[in-house]
Symmetry: C2
Subunit: 202 residues, 2 copies
DNA sequence: CACTAGTATATGTCAAGACATATACTAGTG
DNA sequence: CACTAGTATATGTCTTGACATATACTAGTG
């Protein structure tokens, strides 16, 4: 599981509780490449502890609920290093928006363009906030800091590519719509007009 | 569910069986933006039928198993159109490779570069096959065909962005490694300096 | 003749993830 | 004083998706 290894990675940097992992790490540091919900983090910590890859000790607190601080164990470090050097399969592209677009040929022109523009705006917002973060977190020349910056770069590259693609698509579709308007016999031809020589259309 | 709407979309184009949806559509047409396993397709068809969005009739065959041909119903068309115009939330970037990279600071230099190069090669292969498909399927100027081509463009843009990012990362990390080699001694560390925890020094 | 691949549908089971809710205490705000 | 937000852990449950297996018939290959 990826989440297991993300947790091991964070715990190797510093021992902490499930609450800290959620609020400090997954909601902030890792937010641009992996998210996890609280319930899942606690359950995964349980699994990792059962397998001996992390260990925990309870810190009693008076004015707060007790904290269960998790540390990575030597087998945990081993597992993390083993996994980090192993090839991960390319995750397939899997985007509901592309399903929408693929089957949008029955949408009114305005709706079609609107959906694309909305998507572009959302992507632009994501890009802006990623860039702001990248700027804020751009100091540090150690390896750890560089790796963090590279993950931000990946998210930025992804968003930029998405926006560029949307702009091109918007242009293509606008041109198509314009062209269809100028051709009153609006029959979308899926195949080439029937002028081929072989095989008569009986 | 996205899969439900993908199925509705395909069935609007043409009535077909679960088997056809799997082998002709999801394994080919939609392969670059959505995949689905056979069991899930059959079960989803069942749900859609229960909800009246598709209907089926059995075609008896002698030398083959019977075919259960599904057609989209008017409510199904309505649902598809409604969904196509509704805004889909941006799916978060979610890539196990970025977890690997983020926590790769303990990897030997060669392993680190190797992992990135392997990734680049896999991405390049994907890009090549996507480009080949885009070339083969580039005829057709109707709206349906254009929309299909746009989905291919999206996948191509994604792969290209990934490769560019990997090239930049490879360059950045090579430079960092080179620089670290020329500066022997203490490297900048974010956390406690690494001493041998073996305790008993002999 | 045994084996494999293709056509076709269906169920069982498990992991990952998302969402809701329970518990329990404190501190600050209106 | 009531309410809200914050700290902290935990369980219940549902959906999506992945993988395995069952059934059943035919055609081609070694």
């Amino acid at each position: 599981m990826s989440l297991e290894h993300a947790i091991l990675g964070f715990l190797r940097q510093q021992a902490m509780t499930g609450y800290d992992l959620k609020t400090l790490r997954f909601d902030h540091d890792a937010q641009h490449f992996w998210t996890a919900d609280q319930a899942q983090i606690y359950r995964t910590l349980g699994h990792l502890e059962n397998r001996g890859l992390v260990s925990s000790r309870v810190r009693r607190q008076r004015s707060r609920p007790d904290r269960k601080v998790y540390s990575i164990t030597p087998p945990g470090v081993e597992e993390l290093d083993r996994w980090a050097a192993s090839p991960a399969p390319l995750p397939p592209l899997r985007d509901p928006f592309l399903i929408q677009l693929r089957f949008a040929d029955h949408l009114p022109d305005d709706d079609l363009l609107h959906v694309l523009r909305e998507r572009r705006q959302a992507m632009q917002q994501r890009l802006d906030s990623l860039r702001a973060r990248a700027f804020e977190e751009s100091r540090g020349s150690g390896r750890d800091s560089i790796l963090h910056q590279l993950t931000l770069d990946a998210a930025i590259a992804d968003a930029r590519a998405g926006i560029d693609w949307l702009d091109n698509s918007l242009e293509t579709l606008s041109a198509l719509i314009e062209q269809e308007r100028q051709t009153p016999g609006k029959q979308p031809r899926l195949f080439a007009p029937r002028t081929d020589e072989r095989g008569s259309t009986s």
